[in-house]
Symmetry: C2
């Protein structure tokens, strides 16, 4: 494929034979294999995703199991890696290997590339390890030129079809390979503009849209000629007539597309490393656009939105595959094929069964019917909603297709909260103004302000929920889709770009709502006589496809209604039963516990309903803000001596004790890690003058004294200031009061016959001695409490590892600490020197510039913060073998972070109650993989 | 020494023999040796400091070289360690070993412990590895009881002396062992109170102080009886009569004193680990208080203040050693001995020479003369001022006592800045009101507010310079001495506590200023008719001993006058010549360079005069505050688009370029590490309304827009906010302008024939990609500048390692960075999660509680921050072998940190210009040790 070979490869026919004949020689000398055939001769299989990409590996697999796959070959991902490592050059042997493989195809099909009688036509498609729908470029009908087009016309008996193929080829190739694209000054794609102008020429009197089918063969030829002229004008080069040159250009374009902006944005969102590279699939063309007996379609072996076991999908007759996905014409449900083309339909049903039996997962496949003959062009594991994922996984176990461990792996943990997401409130939905209906493409309920353009959606979403409303979506809309609550399109089916991406992201989506009249210019949506402007509210139900005017109230999902509200009979909810089955399997698989971050009995109850095994973080400071307690707290802070502080603390003691009693009761014996006072004291004082005056009056002190104290407590960097155990060390009476409240509450609950397991956690420890000092205070207090109450409770004392120094000296700290809880919020802030509150001014830019992979405050920065966690774990265990290890930062509910915690050997993660199922699933996945 | 043996050991005489006879048995069975003899039989030597403590090891050494040392033995530091590890119990074999050693002493002296005819009397003293003057307790005259006191009377022929010894013994033992001490309700020591009351009884008509010598033998007996009654009343126990019990109690008290508050404070200040423990020295008593032919003294082999080679020191006739140190009677200069006691004086001069020849360092020794016979009680390396240290080290090399490498080690690096410290301005001193004169005990110039108590001194020192003014000082005053600028006492000589400690700390000190009439009650100092209250200013010249009224202007030291002001001929200054010699040796020894932190040509010039090898940190932001530039800077910050920012930056460019030109010129080819803009932008904006209004007027914008921008830039934790390279990434035009200014300046200076070595440093990098992005901007700018100017300069680009993540991913960063500079200020803040600006509210308490060894912002926290530095060094080198490594935090001038930097393999340290000599010395010491 090297550039210098260009001139040689132009002599198409003459070189083919000699190329073929060198094949054996090449393989004998054990040259590295870069090209893998499929068809009658098939080299690869489904296991070689990394090498062949998903599409290539599955094409090989389908060919192997006897499905009707047009022959072709895959150029491996190694070439892509080579290409980017070697300044966009190819391995020397590649050219020869491609020629050999084309030779094999030619032999199987009895056609030849560039042959003027029986020309072989090719498609060239990208295919990365993980599917990246619509992210990279595709070329169809490759091999056509002024000579071969006539052969195609003759062979198909359809001259207009042949020239239309040629026209399409020039358009795709011109765009993708030769860079003839819309200029910033233009409103439309320049090829489309030529078509529109041409239509106006030939149908000068027509108003509105003229269907392409009205263009005659000769007119098509004229279009071809105008397209070529455009290419020449814009690129300065003639459109290449040599099929080998066309092939070389196309392969190069696919590899180059791996680094285009869309692909980079997509990879960033889904965490796909750039090093993986893409493969290139070259395949013999089959045509779904030869007439009424032909068509193209997309199918799923089960419903990707609900998970129901039905042959699902859609097709367009007389169309190429891209037409279905593009969403320009709204396709027919695949079931209708039964009537239109019964023979291929029957074949398709057989294929559906064979695919599921063989791949043992729901498949998303593409097919083309050429003159009633079915061809399979692709299969892959289908993207599905969270709801469908749970249903498919549990039902496939029942069908004995997979075992329960595989089922656990089948549900993407980050999608699990979709099944908990609210739906529209039934009453609200009934009384709402229903505007029309589209296709239910992404289940759930979404209300938001209309936004008709991705950039504006990103901006508007900063202020409130947004609904992205488009004719159809394309990869350019990706950022807008990420920002929006829901997506609504007027065109395109359930396998359109919008539907596909929405399902993957777990976004609510209704598509193909044909009644919508969307005008980008005036930024309005007209529907059944009403007009809605950008900024007006619409609501969509992605489960039913309904579209409503205004903002709609939502209600809890079935699972919440069963587990939390207890208003729905568990037997009556399939969603709940599937979910519950999955959770049971997770419980069986899991090595790591999932606890919850909770400060109140009701939060504890919710978390337990979701399967939490205890509290990983109870923040005691939240309790100080309730009711009158804040006054006592403030009095404590304003005191300038220990005696007065103790007086105020005495008032707080009963409140705290009562709170802990409630929590211990709700836990029913499960452990509770309770963190001692952590935030800087100034957070508890009022900062505006009016509130300060009120406080002064209430406490009978001067306003000046309050102002003075607020000023004294001011810190330049409160995050790094007088907080955490530093408070407990300055004012040991606070630690005493809290330990007393915890232990007295524990004794009271224990006396009532309920087991208690308090774990007292000292925050912000950086020096071993800090913990020693606090532990001494706690043990002293415990002694006093136990003596006074005449009863003991068992309790642990441990610490948070939340500043780098603590991780570095964890061996010393573990001599005193009975447990560690990694406080990854603060650990992230200190390890990165980055305040979460302030990073908003630069962190988004950091994601744009690929400085950070993901938001480090959402997913553990494994290469930085993670290193310190590993150091902490290792050193902690080195001096206390069985030390209990957990995490209580926001990261405890993030699946990737949960997996990391499993990997480094933590005993539990802790997260907010509603993230517990997600964390449990992620923990189970880590355990079974 | 075990408790249960107490009853047995009371049978003094009878047990001694049998104890002695078991000695051979014990040594045969290879029992661990805990007790080391000195005298005729000497086990240890000077090398065994760790085991025997400094005093014990040197007593052994002196005995070995034939100096007149009273016999005795040392209980090793291992016993102390054992004692604290085993709940204050002793090794089982200890008791037996002590009895053996007492037996050896008895044999040598022909006396016996508890013998009623020839009783052996003992001193019991602590002796740690490093001298801790006055920190721990001492017992003298041990062995006296109602029977042995009569024997002592008979033997000495001086009954009064014998009973005085007994009285003193009860007082010391009662205090130290039996805990009879001043109660909080009392004004005076209870023993002293008894003496005072008794004096009033026997001399009812006397006013003022009655000299102790007027107390008769019988009266002394009465005192003894009253002392015993006090002991009984306070402790509930009889004063022990058995010498073995007395010995056991005394040894226990010495070991216990290792953990008293004074000792802990002292160790903390001097970084002595508690694990070292102390030894106990038991020695036969000799008496300096038997009459006029006796005396005790302290001597130095050279003048510890100036370093001059003279026999220096002082003595008191008819006194025990403690009397000299206590500073209660002002002693005579040692030279006067020549006249008073010529024979022992001659011996002393011989001892002086022998000591220096043998120990090869200036010695500080204690001696007692008993009836004209000289005894050596201690020798140790003498503490000295920085000035004396430099002089002694350089002169000892000339005298061929030591080599130049040893000389380097002899000057404590942290004392070196004393030789640079200012002295009083000659004119100011001349015109000042001279009050009186004391002894020059700590050289230098100090002015401060009078403070007469340690606690108040600590408080007052927070507001301004303080002079601690006391009758005499004692270990209780330590904190006050640390806090004060200088120390002034009315009593005590140059070897008094005040003088000793002041010299060690490098504090200015004048002592024994007898004209001062100090009244603690009224908090006044009266001198020659004037009265000064606490809070009034006094000034002291510690080099001359002069005391002045008011605050005095200071002038630079000789070395500064030579090197910086160039107003003094180097040949005329001995101080300079010694200093310069030492620095030359350092240069010869050093592997690590010392650079300076400097932002202006004049700072650079100073640093070079001190031997800096380049700039380690040039903070460019300081340059933005000068003159009109701040307006352009503010204009840049207020701009809301790149075009306006570039306009403002264009104004700043010529200023920066000119600054860098000056710096490059001053460096004369030495390298300059220049840090790009680092602080958050809000630091450049005015925060008060008036200044904001001025700025608005100046820039022609609205006040509101300025307020808005200030508000937008507000951060909760600016330390962790939008600063460092985060600014350069958000606004690459800032990086461009700075790189342009640096490189254009470099070219201009290079064109003038001066070599330039710019090293451009990107701050606050945490992610490899951050640096890549900034480096790209710098290289692009360089290309443009080189093209425009038609000339190139070589330059490096590197980064600071100042957040933990950077150290952890240093291998990745080093792929782009050509050098690392450890920014240990920020690295300390982030690693510890501790803001330097805010830690004042708890860090002092942390030192008190032994949570931190030293202020981590002054000396690198080696076990935490140091670990990250080591990781950074290791990983940095792993991907770039020859990477240049330096440090530019405040720690670069701290000797301990410099040593650490040498250890981990940095190429240079960087510090403020005036710390350069200290850092050079520390670097040389690290290299030679």
């Amino acid at each position: 494929m090297a550039q210098k070979k260009k001139s040689k490869t132009s002599k198409t026919k003459s070189t083919v034979k000699s190329a073929s004949s060198t094949m054996n020689k090449a393989s004998k000398s054990k040259v590295h294999k870069y090209v893998y055939d499929f068809g009658k001769k098939t080299d690869g299989d489904a296991k070689q995703r990394e090498l062949l990409g998903g599409k290539g590996a599955n094409l090989a697999e389908m060919a192997k199991i006897g499905l009707p796959v047009p022959p072709g070959f895959t150029i491996s991902t190694e070439v892509c890696t080579y290409f980017y490592k070697n300044n966009k050059k190819y391995p020397k042997v590649l050219d020869q290997q491609i020629r050999n493989s084309v030779g094999i195809m030619e032999k199987q099909l009895g056609k030849k590339l560039g042959d003027i009688k029986k020309p072989l036509l090719l498609s060239v498609r990208s295919g990365a390890r993980d599917s990246m729908p619509g992210m990279m470029d595709t070329i169809l009908n490759l091999g056509l030129n002024d000579e071969t087009v006539e052969a195609l016309a003759l062979a198909s008996g359809n001259s207009r079809f042949a020239w239309d193929c040629y026209r399409r080829f020039i358009q795709m190739y011109g765009d993708v390979v030769m860079g003839v694209q819309k200029l910033p000054s233009e409103d439309h794609d320049p090829f489309e503009a030529i078509i529109e102008d041409f239509k106006k020429e030939i149908f000068p009197k027509e108003k509105g849209e003229v269907d392409d089918s009205r263009i005659t063969t000769d007119q098509m030829k004229e279009l071809v000629s105008r397209f070529k002229a455009l290419v020449k004008k814009r690129s300065g080069k003639d459109f290449p007539t040599c099929p080998w040159e066309q092939l070389e250009g196309s392969v190069g374009a696919v590899f180059s597309s791996w680094m285009n902006d869309r692909a980079i944005v997509y990879r960033r969102k889904y965490g796909i490393p750039a090093e993986w590279g893409t493969a290139v699939n070259v395949q013999a063309m089959v045509f779904g656009n030869t007439g009424k007996k032909s068509g193209s379609g997309v199918g799923f072996t089960r419903d990707p939105a609900s998970g129901e076991k039905v042959l699902y999908g859609e097709f367009l007759t007389d169309a190429q595959g891209e037409d279905v996905v593009a969403g320009v014409r709204t396709p027919q449900p695949v079931a209708k094929l039964k009537r239109v083309l019964p023979k291929p339909f029957k074949e398709l049903v057989a294929v559906q069964k064979k695919l599921e039996k063989h791949f043992k997962d729901m498949q998303d496949f593409e097919f083309t019917i050429e003159d009633e003959k079915l061809y399979m062009l692709q299969t892959r594991n289908g993207k599905r909603t969270g709801l469908a994922a749970v249903r498919i996984a549990t039902e496939m176990v029942k069908e004995k297709l997979i075992d329960w461990k595989t089922a656990i792996k089948r549900v993407p943990a980050e999608q699990l909260d979709q099944v908990l997401a609210p739906v529209f409130d039934t009453a609200a939905q009934k009384s709402a103004k229903k505007l029309c209906k589209g296709l239910p493409a992404g289940p759930g309920a979404a209300s938001g302000k209309i936004c008709m353009n991705a950039e504006r959606a990103v901006e508007a979403a900063k202020k409130g929920p947004v609904l992205l409303v488009r004719q159809e979506t394309s990869p350019e809309d990706l950022r807008g889709m990420i920002a929006a609550e829901g997506i609504l399109t007027a065109r395109g089916g359930v396998s359109s770009h919008a539907a596909l991406v929405a399902r993957q992201m777990g976004k609510v989506c209704v598509c193909g709502a044909a009644d919508l009249d969307i005008d980008y210019k005036s930024r309005t949506v007209k529907v059944n006589g009403s007009t809605y402007k950008e900024g007006d509210y619409l609501s969509i139900n992605g489960t039913t496809g309904e579209i409503f005017a205004g903002e709609l109230k939502t209600a809890p999902s079935e699972i919440i209604q069963v587990l939390i509200d207890k208003k729905l009979d568990p037997k009556k909810s399939r969603d709940y039963k599937n979910f519950s089955q999955l959770m049971d399997w997770c419980e069986k698989a899991t090595k790591m516990n999932v606890r919850t971050n909770a400060d109140s009995p009701s939060q504890v109850a919710n978390a337990i309903a979701f399967g939490a095994s205890g509290i990983g973080l109870c923040r005691t400071e939240h309790m100080f803000f309730e009711g009158n307690r804040i006054d006592a707290m403030r009095q404590m802070i304003l005191a300038d001596n220990e005696v007065d502080r103790r007086k105020a603390l005495k008032k707080l003691l009963p409140y705290q004790r009562r709170d802990f009693q409630g929590i211990f009761k709700a836990l029913e014996g499960r452990p509770a890690t309770i963190r001692l006072l952590d935030p800087p004291l100034h957070e508890f004082l009022p900062h505006d003058q009016a509130a300060q005056r009120d406080l002064a009056k209430k406490l009978g002190v001067s306003l000046a004294s309050i102002k003075k104290r607020v000023e004294d407590l001011h810190e330049f960097n409160p995050m790094l200031g007088h907080r955490g155990c530093r408070l407990g060390i300055s004012y040991s009476e606070i630690t005493e009061m809290q330990a007393q409240a915890i232990l007295e509450a524990a004794i009271l609950v224990q006396k009532s016959g309920i087991e208690v397991n308090p774990e007292i956690m000292v925050p912000l420890v950086g020096f071993p001695r800090e913990l020693e000092i606090q532990v001494e205070v706690i043990h002293e207090t415990a002694k006093k409490v136990f003596t006074a109450k005449g009863e003991k409770v068992k309790y642990l004392v441990g610490t948070m590892i939340e500043i780098p120094r603590a991780a570095l000296v964890a061996d010393e700290i573990a001599k005193t600490a009975q447990f560690f809880s990694f406080g990854t919020n603060d650990l992230t802030q200190t390890t990165m020197g980055m305040s979460r509150d302030d990073s908003g001014s630069f962190l988004p830019n950091y994601t744009e510039l690929d400085i950070v992979d993901a938001n480090p405050f959402a997913s553990v920065d494994q290469s930085g913060v993670g290193q310190l966690m590993e150091i902490g774990v290792k050193r902690g265990k080195s001096s206390r073998r069985g030390i209990k290890l957990g995490i209580c930062g926001e990261h405890g509910g993030d699946p990737k972070s949960v997996e990391f915690c499993h990997k480094i050997g933590l005993n539990y993660v802790s997260c907010s109650p509603f993230r517990v199922p997600t964390a449990r699933l992620a923990a189970a996945q880590a355990a079974v993989s």
